[in-house]
Subunit: 267 residues, 2 copies
DNA sequence: CCGTGTTGTTCGGATATGCGAACCTCGTTC
DNA sequence: GAACGAGGTTCGCATATCCGAACAACACGG
């Protein structure tokens, strides 16, 4: 195969982003629609969906119909907006019925939040970024908008650093999209700097986000191991002014305890 | 239409069931795969999925790859089984984040279960059947397998009767698949009988399943109205031996109270 | 009542997807 | 180690899907 540079498995695509390889187009569309709808709390019109998934409405029309007919998406006739449907909601339910681990994780996270009074988050690596999959809010006044289901880059999140701390350097470099996005002045500038930080994470067992994602907010993270490799990242988020020495010790202790619990569950 | 026996909109299909009309095939496949995986707690092999969705593996392969690449399904390399993935779980989460009503419904249902000590269920109409969307278990020893996400016919469920009690007779008849499935001796025999029951439901405000679905189990249901029509059905399930006169009064009171709460929420 | 901006549908040619069977790669069994 | 079965991939041809633009339906504002 690969008979020349003109080889292109999906000829018609415009190839704006390089991310698509040998994906099944229709399937990707369905999933992209789900994702777009999940991120839009008020629902989306067809035109908006077209923009999000980068497809003409003529193509999306039959897909949306099928999804609506089966209640996987809901269609509001008065507002002309599509949103996540009941069946989709139930799909998710069936997941945490089966996968008891998620429930046990949540229990461990509640313990952490109880112990240190701060928000606790759980994330995994998803295509080079941190995907947040669970959160237990601190009892303190709410701040951070809930980011469950959203992703952030690995290079300015404690969970991200924890997740990749033991991976091969090349693999990690491949995940970094240079130039590195820098939401604050404290954000790491270069891949080399980032790689250096990972050595410290390995040494200490904890990963830090020192106001690198958001001003005046810090995180402490730890990696959760399963079958030999770090699969999950657990973190505690706190405003800097509350992060005294004692508090930091408390948080680390709570995280370590949760790590032990979770790793026992993961067998 | 029906210009001849050779008319067939999707030529390649074998057309075992008559249910497909102008659905987008690929989309339906994706959704069917989701549904199959959701119903299989231990995951499915590719061959099993092929049977479930009635498609050759050559066709499903690219679809499953795409779904797995994006974490919407999980693939266990050692057991060779596919199951619902993290992203799908998060889709569901995003639903109850938006739709606050589901959470408020759950609160009302917990109140019902607290008040009468029995299992409370919530369902909607989905393509002529009752789709169970939420449940609060009674504190009593567990029995009924959880049926969230599953469907049952309308003709032997209290929720089903409540849901269709105010609909046009023809529409209701269209939902009944004759001959009527009869899981117990008490199950209604004919469409006419069923239609007659609905008049009673309208009169009394409550729908009953008197051991029509399962021996020795009864349900009392009530319809929840939104924008003028009954959109949800709420029910309490209890073993017959526990259903005394007093208990029945208690249940009806709890259901009525929940109905008021829920309808206020629905605006 | 006509522009203008929506949402959504239709249609024919271009092209990706689907089917089915043969093939591959492992384990297992005898 | 040959035969077998299960999970998965590949490939050519038949065919369903996609694109894009034009069209239809409706709402809103002047």
């Amino acid at each position: 195969m690969a008979s020349g540079p003109d080889f292109c498995p999906k000829g018609a695509q415009i190839m704006t982003t390089v991310e698509d390889k040998t994906q099944h187009r229709s399937t990707k569309r369905v999933l992209d629609i789900f994702e777009a709808l999940a991120n839009a709390s008020e629902g989306l019109t067809m035109a908006e969906i077209c923009r999000e998934v980068n497809a003409p409405k003529g193509s999306l029309s039959p897909i949306l119909h099928t999804m609506a007919d089966t209640s996987y998406v809901a269609y509001d006739d008065t507002t002309k907006r599509y949103s996540i449907g009941l069946k989709t909601y139930l799909l998710g339910k069936s997941f945490d019925r089966e996968s008891t681990s998620i429930n046990l994780f949540m229990a461990a996270m509640r313990d952490v939040t109880n112990a240190c009074g701060e928000t606790c988050q759980l994330g995994v690596l998803d295509r080079g970024r941190v995907l947040y999959i669970a959160k237990v809010d601190s009892p303190q006044p709410v701040r951070l908008t809930s980011s469950i289901g959203k992703t952030l880059p690995i290079h300015y999140t404690a969970i991200g650093k924890a997740l990749v701390s033991e991976m091969d350097e090349e693999k990690v470099r491949a995940m970094l999209q240079e130039p590195l996005e820098r939401p604050t002045d404290a954000t790491v500038r270069t891949a080399d700097e980032f790689i250096a930080q990972l050595a410290e994470v390995r040494n200490e067992g904890f990963a830090y986000d020192r106001e690198e994602a958001t001003e005046a907010i810090q995180c402490i993270g730890i990696g959760i191991r399963s079958h030999g490799t770090i699969q999950y990242g657990l973190s505690v988020t706190t405003p800097s002014y509350r992060l005294t020495e004692d508090k930091q010790a408390l948080i680390k202790e709570a995280l370590s305890r949760a790590k032990r619990h979770m790793e026992r569950v993961l067998a």
